[in-house]
């Protein structure tokens, strides 16, 4: 069992020493340590999600000439999301008659857990990464495929025509947009020469962010667009299109189960932005300020742009979404990979 990539090496080894001093086995310590790390990261993600929901409501308010939440928790409604979460927790847990109970219950977890899992390889700063896998990017691609199964399970188990329609659209959309997403990531991998996130970040040392390197701008744009599709955000939010399917695949979910979907979506948004920053915008690197701060600033900047787009643009129809992916994005992605390869050789 390899040790966790050593941020707080000091603390880790100090406590490990104490632990071993008492004759206790190392593997138990490692297990506890990893659980603790996981809990910290999870807590951080959930906190970010709470902030994100608040931010989305405030930003949408600004764009729409109105004030967002301004009552719960002071003038800026800071506790609004907490109130919403509490409300959802207190709701009746409805499982529709005729629904496949087991599948219905498992589905939200299958959507939520992979999103948490995939944060493993994101470097929050120069010393804080849970585990910098050798196959970091591949890991992301693989685990990102899981939520689709969860979505589909949710739609099918709900025993509801609207939900099924939403689930099928979600599955079709997510699978179709995986390909250009992977192609965009491949461009970065080719440019950095490694699947390891640590090395991708290192290749962007000294302000040479990948987004500034031709032809990675194409990859950046491609990643940005497909990321929005992966997270089911407008203009790609057909699976949950409120005005057409009354919330699509999670229409039958209420209370905490619905909250899980909701949190999963925002956590996924956070991940996708963080990964974008890692791949293209130099991750935590930047002058003067502390790395963590840079990471947060850049990630929030990307998320702000995604929100900005969401509140500006209308929604595409499902066949248009598919056409866009297959007929435009994939050829562009392939061309980008080719170009990146050529530029690398030159």
């Amino acid at each position: 069992m390899t040790a966790i990539a050593a941020p707080h090496t000091g603390i880790y080894h100090a406590v490990l020493g104490w632990w071993q001093g008492h004759g206790l086995p190392v593997w138990i310590f490692d297990a506890i340590w990893m659980a603790l790390m996981a809990a910290i990261v999870t807590a951080f993600i959930l906190l970010t999600v709470l902030i994100l929901v608040w931010l989305e409501r405030k930003i949408s308010g600004d764009i729409q000439s109105r004030v967002g939440p301004n009552r719960t928790g002071g003038r800026f409604g800071l506790l609004q999301t907490v109130a919403d979460a509490l409300k959802l927790l207190m709701k009746e847990d409805l499982i529709p008659r005729g629904a496949d109970r087991l599948v219905f219950i498992i589905a939200p977890f299958l959507v939520f857990v992979p999103v948490l899992l995939v944060f493993m390889i994101i470097p929050f700063s120069d010393r804080w990464v849970v585990k910098d896998l050798n196959l970091g990017v591949l890991f992301v691609v693989a685990v990102s495929a899981f939520p689709v199964i969860g979505l589909f399970m949710a739609g099918w188990a709900s025993n509801n025509k609207y939900a099924i329609l939403g689930a099928m659209r979600a599955a079709a959309q997510t699978l179709s947009y995986e390909i250009p997403l992977v192609l965009a990531m491949v461009c970065v991998v080719v440019a950095a020469g490694s699947l390891r996130v640590g090395e991708i970040v290192a290749a962007q040392r000294g302000g040479h962010w990948f987004v500034l390197r031709f032809p990675l701008q194409i990859a950046f744009l491609l990643y940005f667009i497909t990321a929005m599709a992966e997270v089911n955000r407008v203009p790609f939010d057909l699976p949950e299109a409120e005005s057409e399917l009354v919330a699509g695949y999670h229409v039958e979910y209420s209370g905490m189960r619905f909250a899980l979907f909701f949190l999963a979506e925002f956590a996924h948004l956070f991940f996708v932005s963080a990964f974008c920053v890692t791949l293209f915008l130099g991750a935590w690197q930047g002058p003067w300020l502390s790395p963590v701060l840079w990471f947060l600033i850049k990630t929030y900047a990307v998320m702000l742009v995604i929100m900005w787009v969401r509140w500006t643009v209308p929604r595409l129809r499902i066949d248009q979404i598919m056409g866009f992916a297959w007929k435009l994005l994939i050829p562009v992605g392939l061309a980008a990979v080719l170009l990146t390869g050529m530029m690398n050789v030159l």
């Binding site: 930003i59 308010g61 600004d62 764009i63 729409q64 000439s65 109105r66 004030v67 900005w308 787009v309 509140w311 500006t312 643009v313 007929k327 435009l328």
Partner: protein
């Protein structure tokens, strides 16, 4: 899609989205239009058609003579019970006047029908009750204050 103008097509599509983004950004920088109700009271114009008000004459008594012109003008039977004292004509005074706010359309036909300008639709808009009884108002409740303010 024709290959020849594909690039132009994509570029124009992207540019159109960029223009839209500029509009939303411009709006985000403008002041908000939200009114902070109920922290601040709603702003109403003088002709606002709210709660029914009975006006007083110079002697301080309500002007209403129970002539029933308003009752006949009302489309929805919102003025079901109006009764006056035994006098006739202009000397008569109303002793009972019931206004069913739950039926009222606030159309103002009653106000226009009144030959004595005895009633008006005032500025109060909040008439909340938990039963029909609670939104049924009598003459005394509708009377404006002695100095001529709204009820």
């Amino acid at each position: 899609m024709r290959q020849t103008n594909l690039l132009a097509d994509v570029a124009s599509g992207a540019w159109s989205i960029a223009k839209g983004l500029a509009v939303t950004l411009a709006n985000a920088l403008r002041p908000r239009v939200t009114q902070d109700y109920p922290a601040r009271p709603a702003h109403l114009y003088p002709r606002f058609r709210g709660r029914l008000v009975h006006k007083r004459g110079e002697d301080g008594r309500p002007r209403c003579t129970a002539c029933l012109a308003c009752q006949k003008a009302c489309p929805t039977l919102a003025l079901p019970t109006i009764a006056g004292d035994e006098k006739k004509g202009r000397e008569r005074r109303a002793v009972q006047y019931v206004w069913e706010a739950s039926r009222c359309l606030f159309c103002g036909l009653c106000v226009e029908a009144c030959p004595f300008e005895a009633i008006a639709l005032g500025q109060q808009y909040s008439m909340v009750g938990e039963s029909r009884q609670q939104v049924r108002f009598a003459l005394e409740e509708l009377l404006e204050r002695p100095q001529g303010g709204a009820a």
